[in-house]
Each structure stands twice: as structure tokens, then as C-alpha cells.
């Protein structure tokens, strides 16, 4: 065990600290009202757009570090330790993190790995700059957990893909310029080998997006209908019929990024502050042993997750450390933990905890209640908790599959 950074990294840490100080209080002129978005500080020193912020971060090498310069990245060596230092210092200084989302977290890594040169040139840069938003068109009404059952059809006619069918639960489709989409192109082939991974401009003729309100009362996701939508033959990643493998590469990226433990620990600290302020019968909640114990218990779990993340990091730096099962548990543990923590905050506030929207007496813009519900969505989205448990037990522990299942993805 050696947790020390070498001089190079200590210097880097200093540099990042200085950067955070310089941009202390930066706010965005196009900030979203989503309570999930990192809340901006009160001192309004520097005002820029989100896209400008992305560019500053890339220039500095704090974002898209290993993406080649020609595609809009920093063009450096991948350095997981530096990535970690950046994440830690940003979080400590409350410096806004770079934008995420399905384009940046899922599509860019996929294109880097499997895209053509032309696709990389065309899509990566605007995506990194936050100028091209992507949505993920995987799920369909009859293909959720059983994703490979998807039926949206793509036919190659006169050098164009012609797409017909329907997607559902497509997050952010209503704001997106592009969709990466799974489409059945080889109807004769076996379930998993008949699928292709296509890139679809959302302004194509024949696409209709219908927003769906979710339990938070926001339209977080959509139904997307395709009627004879035509896109160029070249808008395919990987080969025809190999979309399943391409999709699986990206699903891995999504599952890792849904509930990072550092973000949960930030919320733990926010909750400690809240419990110092909120009073029950005149006494701060932090002085009520029962609530305090519930909080400390959760903090223990979050600490374990943070330490676990260090162990996973170490395994990347030191080949040979076995963390196979350790990686598989992340989505399950992280989303459940975040949901539990936000739920504790509601109990801590009592009746005030169930206030919502623009109610008087609302705390933290209603974010606790919003995220409590939102994370129930994330427990389901990106592969449900039950599917995660199947994966852990079958692929992780080698337990036999349930009889008569054709394969669980």
C-alpha cells in the first residue's frame, strides 16, 4: 500500500488547485434549471457559456485529456491519476465539472474505439464542446431488460438506411442533435447478430419526438417514432450486424458513470450542513442521535465506495490486481446508495422534506426530493438492479443461468 503521489503528481495537484482558485465562482450564462446540475456559487465573478468552459478545460488538459488533438481533445497520454486529482480538486473547490451526458460519456469513447476516421472528425469535437448533444436510442416498448429483442427496422435502400419503428425512454431526445441508435438490419440473423449501431441526425425527416413526463414531473425522457427516416449508409459504427458488440462497449461506460462515489460524498457533506441548520423541536437534527447515526451509517457505506474506487483505479495502473466482480457491483451499489442518502435528507427535514416545486419553506431548491425520485429512475435505467444482480451472479460468480433464458444483457 502506497498512497503517496510522486513529485510530478504533487506539482500537478498544485496546478489544479491554482486553476480552481482562478475560476472560483464561475457561472454559466446558459445554465440549466435542472436541480441536478451543479449549483453555482453566489459570487458571480466569471460568466461564460458552458461550451466556453468545455474549451478552457480541454486546453488545460483537464478534460478529454487522451482524445487526440485533431478530434478536439487535449492530445495527451491517458493518466488516470491525473484524472483523479482533477476530479478530487474540482469537487473540493466546487469548481463546475465538465459536461457529461450520453454523447460525452458513451458515444465519444465508442467512436474512438470503433468509429471511422471520418466519423471521429465529424462528431467528436462538437460533442466535447457541448455543441452537439446526443441521445441513446436503445430501449423500445418491448425491449427493455431484453434489449436484444429490439425491432426498429433499418433497410439499406439505394445507399441509404431507411428506418422505421419506435424507441422509448430516450433521455434528452428533445434537446438532442444526434442519436446513437440500435436498429435491426439483418432480420434473418439470430437475435443478437441482427443489430447495427447507427448515427441518426434528430432533424431528419420522419422523426417525431414525444416527451414523456416522469415521476419528478419533468419530461426527462421521450418516445421517438421513425417513419421512413433516411440517413447515409456511412452513418454506421462497426459492421452491419455487429451493433450488439458496439453497444456493449458503451453500456460499460454508462454503468460506471451513473453514481460516482465522490458525488455521493459531496451530498453527505451537504447533508451534514443541512442537519446543523434544520431543527426538530428546537434542537438541530445533527444533535439527535438517531438521525446522526443513520447519517454516519450511510457515510460509512459511501467511504467504502470511495475506497473501492481507489482500488479499481489501482487495478488499472497495476495489471494483475483482480477486480472483476468489484467493477460489476458499481451501478447497483452506487444508485441504491444515492437513493438512500437523498431519502434520509427527506426524513431529516420531516414535512419540509416533502415540499416540492416552488413551495415556500423549500430547501436547496427541492433537490433532495428531486434526486430521491430521480435515482429511483436510475436504479431502473441503464439495466435494472435485478439485471445487475443477474450479471454479478452469472458472469461474476459463475453461477448457472436461469433455465430457458436466451441470454441476459
Amino acid at each position: 500500500m502506497d498512497l503517496h503521489y510522486s513529485k510530478e503528481y504533487l506539482d500537478f495537484e498544485k496546478e489544479v488547485k491554482a486553476f480552481c482558485k482562478k475560476y472560483d465562482g464561475v457561472t454559466f450564462t446558459d445554465a440549466s434549471k435542472n436541480p441536478l446540475a451543479s449549483s453555482s456559487s453566489k459570487k458571480k465573478k466569471i460568466q461564460i457559456t458552458r461550451s466556453e468552459w468545455q474549451k478552457i478545460l480541454i486546453e488545460q488538459g483537464y478534460f478529454a485529456r487522451a482524445v487526440p488533438k485533431e478530434y478536439g481533445g487535449y492530445g495527451g497520454e491517458p493518466d488516470i491519476l491525473k484524472s483523479r486529482i482533477i476530479a478530487t480538486e474540482f469537487s473540493r473547490a466546487k469548481t463546475p465539472a465538465p459536461m457529461g451526458g450520453q454523447g460525452i460519456d458513451m458515444l465519444v469513447p465508442t467512436l474512438l474505439e470503433m468509429g471511422t476516421d471520418q466519423q471521429k472528425e465529424k462528431y467528436i469535437k462538437p460533442t466535447l464542446h457541448g455543441e452537439m448533444i446526443w441521445c441513446q436510442g436503445y430501449s423500445e416498448p418491448n425491449a427493455g431488460s431484453d434489449l436484444a429483442a429490439l425491432q426498429t427496422k433499418g433497410e439499406l435502400i439505394d445507399g441509404e438506411w431507411v428506418i422505421n419503428g419506435q424507441k422509448i425512454w430516450t433521455s434528452t431526445a428533445q434537446y438532442s442533435q444526434m442519436m446513437f441508435c440500435l436498429v435491426r438490419t439483418e432480420p434473418e440473423a439470430q437475435k443478437h447478430s441482427g443489430i447495427s449501431y447507427l448515427l441518426i441526425p434528430m432533424d431528419s425527416e420522419g422523426i417525431e419526438v414525444r416527451p414523456l413526463v416522469d415521476m419528478t414531473m419533468k419530461a426527462g425522457f421521450n418516445e421517438v417514432f421513425f417513419t421512413d427516416v433516411k440517413i447515409p449508409e456511412t452513418n454506421i459504427v462497426g459492421k452491419r450486424g455487429e451493433g450488439w458488440a458496439v453497444a456493449n462497449a458503451t453500456l460499460g461506460h454508462e454503468r460506471g458513470s451513473l453514481a460516482p462515489p465522490d458525488a455521493i460524498m459531496n451530498r453527505v457533506h451537504m447533508l451534514i450542513d443541512l442537519m446543523k441548520e434544520e431543527k426538530l423541536d428546537g434542537k438541530p437534527l445533527i444533535e439527535h442521535p438517531i438521525y446522526r447515526d443513520r447519517l454516519m451509517k450511510i457515510q460509512g457505506k459511501v467511504m467504502a465506495s470511495q475506497s473501492h474506487a481507489l482500488r479499481l483505479l489501482s487495478a488499472k495502473l497495476n495489471p494483475g490486481q483482480d477486480v472483476k466482480v468489484g467493477k460489476m457491483i458499481q451501478k447497483l451499489v452506487g444508485t441504491e446508495l444515492r437513493h438512500e442518502l437523498e431519502g434520509l435528507a427527506i426524513d431529516v427535514m420531516g414535512e419540509i422534506g416533502v415540499l416540492y416545486e416552488d413551495s415556500p419553506h423549500l430547501r436547496d431548491k427541492g433537490s433532495w426530493q428531486f434526486i430521491y425520485m430521480y435515482f429511483l429512475g436510475l436504479i431502473i435505467g441503464g439495466g435494472t438492479s435485478q439485471i445487475q444482480k443477474n450479471i454479478i451472479s452469472e458472469r461474476g460468480l459463475g453461477l448457472p443461468k436461469e433455465p430457458k433464458i436466451q441470454g441476459v444483457q
Binding site: 427493455g144 429483442a149 414523456l212 426538530l280 431519502g343 420531516g350 414535512e351 419553506h361 429512475g377 436461469e402
Partner: protein, 361 residues
């Protein structure tokens, strides 16, 4: 020995369930949640027409003279159908407070009018159940000042019933001078709560509550049992929906209910919820017949049901997959109802604390 609801109770309960099933579809719930008062009024009128307002009012004042077990059966039915209408404050806590604390004249006046639905009460007891945001009630002679947070059933209120921290309860006229009513918005937009800011408002104290907390405690106990029963009904509805969905929905070429993971979620929910029926009934029965256990059982019913139903709300949503998270099915109306009930009249921890203290003396 007979442990269970009577035929009359089941009959009344079924009437409420049937009325809500026929008149309160998810579409209408959605409209009510979006503040469409016409629909809310129809539901309220319909439920009052079934007789819930006079439920607990003694027969001599024109009511049905029924007991808390009866009221719990009704509350369960309202929870089951997401009954978007006042009940717990107006028709349970208010008559009980007046029966327990009112002078003969006050009983005659208010109970008769509750039974005839001329008077409707909003109820503010939060000073006693864990006051938040430094809300405080001061009573000086015949005047009341201060703030009462989370006043229940205010939307049709002609009067408010307010308690201070000592359990001294009194009545104010909703039209009186010095009242500032602030609407609060919770996750459950089908039932409304408000804050009352009072400045030297005329206050009619219920005689018997001046020097005794007894009535206030009984009223809160009953309110808590109602909330427990309401969550019980709501949770049962969520389980039923989850089980139906698990039979219908197919993935991997089979009904999702054929996966053990889903089966076990359903079985776990039922195993947790099933004993809750008996606990709620028993606690409600105790209010009249087992005075020594009445308070403890009310506290435990409220806090235990809060915990069980929170878990049911989560799991039954999970059984529905993405569909559970949307407004399409409207499952979240029950999720949120359970969420609000959990926090009203004392959070589970706060109520368990009271339960423990009861057993120290």
C-alpha cells in the same frame, strides 16, 4: 373471538373504493394534481355524499356515531383509491377534538354542523408533532398568534382547529381578521396543506383542553392511525398493480413474473404488508377498547407502516421498470401519497421516540 373488520365496515369501505374506482381515474388525478378544482370538488362532494363527514359524530348530534376502527377502514379505502379529498383532519381529528375537549355548547354547535357539512375544519397540530422552522403558537386569553405549519385539509375549511405545544386546542373562523394563509406545495398535489400565520386572531378554546394534553394526544393518535391506514391502502394498490404487471409484461419471451427476482420482490412486499392490516385494525380497535395500549399501538402503527410502505412504494415501482417511473401509468401518485403520509404528524423516528418514552414511565 373475532379479529377483523365487520360486514358493515367492509360494506362502507367497498362503497368508497367503488366510488373512487368509477370516478377517480388516473387522468382525473392528473387534472386534480394540476389544480383543476372542478374535479377535486366533484370527488369531495361524492365522498361526503357517502357519509364520511358524520362518521365519528355521535348520533345525538346527527352523526353516525361510529368508531376509529370504522374510520381506519375508510382511510384505507381512500388510500387505495388515492382519494384526493380531505378526510383525516376534517372528519376524524376535528370531531374527536370537539368530542373530547368541547363544552356542551361547543359540541352542540360544531358537531351538529360537521354532521350536516355546514362546518368544515382544517387542522393544525404540528406544534405537537415536531415543530419545524421555529413555528410556534401562543395563546393569550381569547387570542391566538404564531405560525402553524402543515395544516391539513384547508381547502374547504370554514374553520381551523389549532393546538399549541401543550395540547391546548381551539377554533378560529377561517374568515377572522389576522389570518394569513400560505399554500404549500408538496410532492402529493392531490391533497393540500398550508401554513397559517396568525396575528391576534379570535380563538375559542375547547374548554377541557385548557389544562390537559389528553384530548390532543388522542386526536393525534387517531390521526396517525388514519395515516397508517391510508398508506396501507395505497401500498396494497401498488402491490396489486405490480403483480398484475408482472403477469402481463413479457421480456426474454416470458412473463417477468416468472423470474425469481420479480417473484421475490412481490412476495417480500406482501410478507411485509400483510401483517400491517392486523396492526392497523388492532391499533384502531385499541383506541376505544384497550386504553392502556392505545397510544403505543398508534405510534407503532404509524411508524411501522411508514417504513413498510416506503419500501413497497420503491419495489412496486421497480417491478414496473421504466413504466413505473413515468406519468403514463400514474403509479407515482401512490408513491407520493405514501411519501407525504410518512412525514405528516411526526416522522417515524420522532414517533418511535414517543413510543419509547411511553414505556419509560
Amino acid at each position: 373471538m373475532y379479529f377483523g373488520l365487520s360486514e358493515d365496515q367492509i360494506f362502507f369501505q367497498d362503497n368508497i373504493k367503488k366510488f373512487l374506482e368509477e370516478n377517480l381515474s388516473v387522468d382525473i388525478l392528473r387534472k386534480i394534481a394540476a389544480d383543476d378544482r372542478t374535479f377535486a370538488n366533484d370527488i369531495h362532494d361524492g365522498i361526503v355524499n357517502l357519509g364520511i363527514n358524520g362518521l365519528l359524530v355521535p348520533e345525538e348530534f346527527g352523526g353516525l356515531g361510529l368508531d376509529i376502527l370504522f374510520a381506519a377502514a375508510i382511510s384505507e379505502a381512500l388510500g387505495y383509491g388515492a382519494g384526493a379529498s380531505p378526510f383525516i383532519g376534517s372528519y376524524v381529528m376535528a370531531p374527536l377534538a370537539i368530542i373530547g375537549g368541547g363544552s356542551d355548547e361547543q359540541k352542540q354547535n360544531y358537531l351538529t354542523k360537521i354532521a350536516s357539512n355546514e362546518v368544515k375544519f382544517g387542522v393544525g397540530f404540528s406544534a405537537l408533532t415536531g415543530a419545524r422552522d421555529n413555528s410556534e403558537i401562543q395563546i393569550k386569553g381569547n387570542k391566538i398568534s404564531g405560525r402553524s405549519l402543515f395544516v391539513l385539509d384547508y381547502e374547504y375549511a370554514t374553520h381551523f382547529l389549532i393546538s399549541d405545544i401543550n395540547g391546548c386546542i381551539g377554533i378560529i373562523d377561517a374568515q377572522a381578521n389576522g389570518i394569513d394563509l400560505v399554500e404549500l406545495k408538496t410532492i402529493d398535489r392531490t391533497r393540500n396543506v398550508c401554513e397559517l400565520i396568525l396575528k391576534n386572531v379570535d380563538f375559542k378554546i375547547l374548554e377541557q383542553t385548557k389544562n390537559s394534553k389528553n384530548t390532543a394526544e388522542k386526536v393525534i393518535d387517531a390521526g396517525r392511525i388514519m395515516l397508517a391506514a391510508d398508506s396501507l391502502g395505497a401500498a396494497q394498490n401498488m402491490i396489486n398493480k405490480a403483480v398484475d404487471y408482472a403477469k402481463e409484461r413479457k421480456q426474454f419471451g416470458r412473463a417477468i413474473g416468472s423470474f425469481q427476482a420479480v417473484k421475490h420482490m412481490c412476495a417480500e412486499m406482501v410478507a411485509e404488508l400483510e401483517p400491517c392490516y392486523a396492526l392497523v385494525w388492532h391499533a384502531a380497535h385499541a383506541q376505544k377498547h384497550l386504553p392502556n395500549e392505545a397510544r403505543l399501538m398508534a405510534c407503532q402503527a404509524k411508524s411501522h407502516l411508514s417504513d413498510v410502505t416506503k419500501e413497497v412504494a420503491k419495489k412496486s415501482t421497480e417491478v414496473h421498470g421504466g413504466m413505473g417511473f413515468t406519468d403514463l401509468l400514474g403509479l407515482h401518485y401512490w408513491f407520493k401519497r405514501i411519501g407525504l403520509n410518512r412525514q405528516l404528524l411526526g416522522t417515524p423516528e420522532r414517533v418511535r421516540e414517543e413510543a419509547a418514552l411511553l414505556q419509560l414511565n
